[in-house]
């Protein structure tokens, strides 16, 4: 089914492919897709060497999803801002390049940005949080929020724990994307069922902010056996 008030603003990454795959498998089609193309010739954070828009191109055509390619990889650029504000949808599912942070201008453009954080909120805010939770609790997490000015501080729609994957060495590209996609699907299913957005935690003020994990701790998280 088409989601008439929901669009996507995405980058050409593995995570985007997973999101779209999961949405299509669950018959949840965005009304429109804005795709930020990387034409620089360099791989951007969140991309691996295999990332292209090949899968997106195929699925867009197959599912008849209206789309537009944007020649910018910067979510805060004028080009992206104009493309978003010109659209009628009020909610945008966001899947950007790694490390990108939405600035106030776009956050206050009259749209809601639905983001799936790779970590169990509010406990694990910030970056690479699933590695920390693997060390602390031997589990991973993903949480859906609407973005605001606070890093991972927006209202929490849904949050879930997940067991560690069999192969922890590919968390960044495979497992992380998969569990985020699951939470995205479930969040949208809840929205359809309830007829509105319901929040598990509306005031997301607690928790700690984690920073990019040092490789030594990353190796401990990956190789941990308990």
């Amino acid at each position: 089914m088409k989601l008439p008030d929901i669009a996507m603003i995405v980058s050409a990454t593995k995570r985007t492919d997973e999101y779209v795959r999961a949405l299509v498998e669950n018959n949840l089609l965005p009304n429109f897709m804005l795709i930020m193309q990387n034409k620089s010739g360099h791989i951007l954070p969140g991309q691996s060497s295999e990332n292209t828009t090949k899968y997106l191109d195929e699925i867009i055509k197959k599912e008849n999803i209206p789309f537009k390619y944007i020649d910018s990889t910067d979510i805060n650029s004028d080009t992206v801002f104009e493309a978003i504000t010109m659209r009628p949808e009020s909610v945008f599912i966001y899947s950007g390049y790694g490390g990108s942070i939405l600035r106030n201008r776009i956050l206050n453009a009259g749209k809601k940005f639905l983001h799936i954080h790779g970590g169990f909120l509010p406990d694990y805010k910030g970056s690479t949080t699933n590695y920390y939770s693997l060390i602390n609790e031997n589990s991973c997490g993903a949480s859906s929020i609407f973005l605001d000015e606070q890093i991972d501080g927006g209202p929490i729609l849904l949050r879930k724990h997940f067991p560690p994957p069999e192969d922890r060495s590919r968390i960044d590209y495979n497992y992380d994307s998969m569990i985020r996609a699951k939470v995205l699907v479930e969040t949208l299913q809840m929205y359809i069922k309830n007829g509105r957005w319901k929040f598990e935690i509306a005031e997301n003020t607690e928790g700690e902010t984690y920073y990019i994990i040092h490789p030594l701790l990353k190796h401990i998280a990956i190789l941990s056996r308990s």
Binding site: P45, G98, G99, Y132, I135, N136, S169, D172, E208, T209, Y210, Y211, I212, I213, H214, P215, L216, L217, K218, H219, I220, I222, L223, S224, R225, S226
Partner: protein, 257 residues
């Protein structure tokens, strides 16, 4: 197979490392890291043994750091750090763990009141703050919510900029001054090392690991000052012990050895 640990080979003040998407290299990575740290520690031992007695404030910081280091080193590790520390004490009696000044009327106690009267809206003099933090974590002074908040702010500043500045605008905003004052880095690292031991908060250990990469990558500058070198030595002892404990608890240690 030996892996070269790459994160402290390049000067991290000139070329900060983002640590984004670092590659997974398996068990040999731990050996590479350990060899890198050990090699650096061995290279500065002579310097530390023969360091000059510093001013009163730094002397107190070193005394308390030695005490903390001896305390943690006694709890069995792979390397016998205790013997190395006692050797340092033997050649520098003023750092002896037997003589701890009362915290009243000492250089450190002069910093006690600072944190009570300041708040995040003030301009930050980083060295003063870091001495306060050191006092706080080494147990000399009572719990302070302000201290925790300031520590969080400096962690955030360092993690985002990979630098520590001598001054910050009110609210720990933009830093100013030269960002290559290694004393600030080693002092922050040893405080966070002690704090991690008390709290097991991985965010503190994460910052320590990055600071240590930076310190070691500036070895040439570090060895110009015996105090900095000695504090760096203590920090690396802490790091080694904390990491070994984590490896043990996660069932990885046996696979490395």
């Amino acid at each position: 197979m030996n892996i070269i640990y790459p994160y402290s080979t390049d000067n991290r003040l000139l070329n900060p490392c983002s640590y984004m998407y670092t590659p997974f290299e398996g068990l040999p990575f731990f050996k590479g890291h350990s060899l890198s740290r050990k090699s650096f520690m061995e290279s500065i031992e002579e310097l530390i043994i023969s360091m000059k007695e510093p001013d009163d404030l730094k002397k107190e910081i070193l005394k308390h750091s030695m005490k903390e280091s001896l305390g943690i080193a006694k709890i069995g590790t792979i390397e016998d750090y205790s013997q190395k520390l006692l050797l340092i004490t033997k050649h520098n009696p003023w750092i002896s763990s037997k003589h701890y000044p009362d915290t009243n009327n000492t250089e450190l106690s002069n910093y006690a009141d600072m944190i009570k009267i300041t708040n995040l809206k003030d301009r930050v003099e980083t060295e003063k703050f870091l001495v306060c933090l050191f006092c706080y974590v080494s147990g000399n002074f009572a719990h302070s919510d302000s201290m925790v908040a300031w520590t969080e702010s400096l962690i955030q500043r360092f993690e985002v900029t990979k630098k520590i500045y001598p001054e910050y605008k009110p609210g720990f905003k933009k830093g100013s001054g030269k960002n290559d004052v290694l004393f600030l880095y080693v002092l922050f690292a040893i405080s966070l090392s002690i704090y991690y031991g008390q709290t097991q908060n991985l965010r503190y250990l994460n910052a320590v690991l990055k600071i240590n990469d930076l310190i070691i990558s500036n070895a040439a500058q570090l060895i110009q000052d015996g105090v900095n070198a000695c504090l760096a030595y203590f920090v690396l002892i802490f790091e080694g012990i904390h990491i070994n404990r984590l490896l043990q608890s996660k069932g990885i240690q046996d696979e490395i050895t």
